[in-house]
C-alpha cells in the first residue's frame, strides 16, 4: 500500500476499497459495519437522541489525544449531555491528498480505543479525498444516536432557582494543551487535553439522582459561555464562586502569560451539572468517585435574580458579570 493518501483513494474504485478494508474495517469492525451496505441497520426503541459534529482541530495530534479521540468523545458527550446512553456513531473522513497512511491508521486506532471506552460502535462511515490545500490534513464528522432512559428529562431549560451548579473538574486543559502546540507558541508543558467520553460518568450520576436538571459540556467558549447558555435557556440567574472553580496551576500560568481567562478556554472532557439542592451532595460524591470527575466541585447556584446573567463572586469578594465569549480567543499584546 502507498505511504500517503492519493486522490485515487477517494475515487470509489479499488484504492477506495483498499483504504476502507485495510485501515478502517480492521479496527472498527462490527456486524453492522462489516456488511458494507449502503446504510446500517439496527434495533432501537424508546426515546432517541441524535446529534452530529465536525472536527477540524489543528494540530490533529496533541498532548492527551488526537482528532480521532476528539471526534468520538465530542459526539458521545453531546448525547450524554441530554441524558442519552450513546449506542452507535457514524464516522466521515475528509482527507487531504498526501496525508500519511500511517497517521491515518494511528487516528483510526485512536477512534477504536475511544469507542471501546465509551462502549459505542461505529456502524456507518464514509471517506473522501480532496486536493492538497482543499482541506487541512484531516477533517472528521461523527453523528451519534442514543437512547434516553425512561424518566430522564435533561435540558438546558430545566434549571430552577435554588439548584446547585456542579463542575466535573479543572477547566481550560484542552484549550491550553492545544495552544501550547500551535505555531508561534511552542511553550513546553506537561499539560494534556482532558478529552474524554463522559457517558459513563453521566449514567452513574443519573442513577444516583432523578433530579439532575441540566448537563452541558463546556467546549468551545469555555465555562463562561456554557453558564450563560444555561442561564438564558432556563431564564434564571447563575452565581458562581471564583475560588471554587478548579484550575490547574499550568493552565493559570499559561493564561496569565497569554492574557486569557480560563473561564473562556475550551474543555473536551468536562461537564456542568445543575442539580436539585437536595441531591447535590449525592451527585457530587458520585462524580468525585469517577476518574473523570475526580476534581469535581460545587461552584455555585441558580437564582431567580438577574435572569439570563451569570455573576462571578471574585476571589476578593466583589461580584462581576461573566459574559459569553465574543469573537475568538486572542492573546493580548502587552
Amino acid at each position: 500500500m502507498n505511504d500517503s493518501v492519493l486522490l485515487a483513494h477517494g475515487s470509489g474504485g479499488k484504492l477506495s476499497h483498499e483504504l476502507v478494508e485495510r485501515i478502517f474495517l480492521p479496527f472498527l469492525a462490527n456486524a453492522a459495519l462489516n456488511k458494507l451496505d449502503d446504510s446500517a441497520i439496527f434495533e432501537a426503541s424508546g426515546r432517541l437522541a441524535f446529534t452530529t459534529d465536525s472536527y477540524v482541530v489543528n494540530p490533529i495530534f496533541f498532548p492527551g489525544g488526537d482528532i480521532g479521540r476528539l471526534a468520538v468523545c465530542g459526539t458521545v458527550n453531546d448525547l450524554a449531555m441530554n441524558g442519552a446512553r450513546p449506542l452507535h456513531l457514524s464516522l466521515s473522513a475528509i482527507i487531504e491528498e498526501g496525508f500519511l497512511i500511517s497517521e491515518l491508521e494511528q487516528i483510526v486506532q485512536s477512534v477504536k480505543k475511544a469507542t471501546e471506552e465509551a462502549e459505542v460502535s461505529i456502524i456507518a462511515g464514509d471517506t473522501k479525498v480532496v486536493d492538497r490545500g482543499q482541506a487541512d490534513k484531516l477533517f472528521l464528522t461523527t453523528s451519534g444516536i442514543g437512547i434516553i432512559p425512561p424518566g430522564v428529562d435533561i435540558s438546558g431549560a430545566n434549571a430552577r432557582a435554588g439548584d446547585k451548579v456542579l463542575l466535573s473538574g479543572t477547566i481550560g486543559d484542552h484549550g491550553i494543551a492545544i495552544m501550547s502546540q500551535r505555531e508561534g507558541l511552542r511553550f513546553s508543558m506537561t499539560l494534556e487535553s482532558d478529552c474524554a467520553p463522559l457517558n459513563k460518568l453521566v449514567s452513574q450520576m443519573l442513577q444516583a439522582s432523578s433530579r439532575v436538571h441540566c448537563l452541558r459540556d463546556p467546549t468551545r467558549g469555555g465555562l463562561a459561555t456554557t453558564l450563560n447558555e444555561l442561564s438564558q435557556q432556563s431564564k434564571v440567574g447563575i452565581v458562581v464562586q471564583e475560588t471554587e472553580i478548579p484550575v490547574k496551576e499550568e493552565v493559570r500560568a499559561a493564561c496569565e502569560l497569554l492574557g486569557l481567562d480560563p473561564l473562556y478556554v475550551a474543555n473536551e472532557g468536562k461537564m456542568v451539572a445543575i442539580v436539585d439542592p437536595a441531591d447535590a451532595d449525592k451527585v457530587l460524591a458520585k462524580m468525585k468517585h469517577h476518574g473523570y470527575g475526580r476534581d469535581a466541585a460545587l461552584i455555585g447556584e441558580v437564582t431567580s435574580q438577574h435572569p439570563g446573567k451569570v455573576v462571578l463572586k471574585t476571589k476578593l469578594g466583589p461580584s462581576r458579570i461573566v459574559d459569553m465569549l465574543s469573537g475568538e480567543l486572542l492573546p493580548r499584546i502587552c
Binding site: 496551576e249 476571589k315 469578594g317 466583589p318 461580584s319 458579570i321 459574559d323 486572542l330 493580548r332 499584546i333
Partner: protein
Amino acid sequence: MKFIDEYQDSRLAKGLAYKIAQRSTKTITLMEFCGGHTHDLRRHGLRQLDPETVEMRSGPGCPVCVTATADLDRAIALAQLPDVIITTFGDMMRVPGSYSSLQQSKAEGADVRIVYSTTDAIELAKANPGKSVIFIGLGFETTAPTIAASILKARQERVENFHVLSLNKLTPPVMKTLLDSGEIKLDGIVCPGHVSVIIGSHPYEFIPREYRVACAISGFEPLDILLGIDKLVEQIEKGEPKVEIAYARGVKPEGNERARQLIEDVFEIAEANWRGIGTVPASGLKVRGKYEQFDADKAFPVNPKPPREVKGCRCGDVIRGSATPLECKLFRQVCTPESPVGPCMVSGEGACAANYQYGTTHNPHSV
C-alpha cells in the same frame, strides 16, 4: 509554582481597601493610564472595594485604541499589496479602519497572520523568501525593545524581506499633553507597571513637580493595584505629590538600561498621531535611517484614502478619560464586542470592552 495567589489574597486585599477608605477624606479623581489596569480593576471587581471618595478614570494606555485611524488604514493598505504577509498582535485584527479592517482584508484574500512575538515574524520571513513580511509594531515602551531587537536580528541574519511598520508610542509625552489640556482635573495617576520596568520612575518626575499630580507605579495583580491607589491617596491627603514605586519587584528607579539602549539604537523619537488626542510631539518612535531597509514606511510607501471617523463613536473621548464608555450613545446599543465600532470595544485593554465584559451586580452593566 506559586506566583499569583500571594497577590490575590482576599484578606490582604480587604485590609488594604479598609486602609484606603480610612485614609481617604477628599473626593479625588485618579487615572489608571494603562489598559491592563482598566481591565484588571474590573475583572477582580476592585472598583467595589474602593471608597466612594475615589473616582477612577481610564487613560490612553491601550496600544490598539490609541492607534490613529489613518495609521490603521496604512496597515490595511499594506495588507492589500501583492506578495506581502502582514504579521500583527491579535487585537489589531478586528479594529475597524475607515473602510475595512485587517480581518476583513484577510477574508478577502490578504495574508494576515497573528504572531505572538517578533521572532515568529522573522521566522516567517525566513520561511517565505519570495514574500515581504511586515510586522505592525504596536505598543508603548514595553514592546519597543523587542521590536528593536527584531530589526537588529533581521540585519544580523540578513533577513531582507522583514519590515516593521512602527506605530510605537511613548508614555510620558502623552501624559504631559493630557495634563496640559486641563480637560479633566486629575489628582493622581496610576502609572503603568510594565512600561516602567523599561523607563523606570524618573521620566514621571515632572508630573508632581510641574502639575502637583501624584504618581504611583503599580503592578497588575489586585494587591498591586490597591497598593498603588493607597500610595496615591496617601500622597494626596498629605498634599505631597511625588512618584512612588508600588511595584518594587518589577520596577527600579533607573529602569532597564539595556532595553532603552536597544530602543535608542534602532529608533529615533518622532511625533506621533494618537486617536482622540491628535499629533503629539516627541511621542512616537521612527526607525532610524541606518535601518531604513527594514522600515515598512520606506520600503512600501502607500497612500490610503483620507481617513473617515465613525459618527457618534466616542473612543477619542474615552481614551482621554473625558468620557466613560457609558456616556457613549453607541455603547452596547450599536457597538458590542461582536460588532465593534471603535477600537476601545475591540481590545482586551480597551475601556469599553472592559466595561462591557465585566459589569457589576449592583448595576450589571456599569462600573
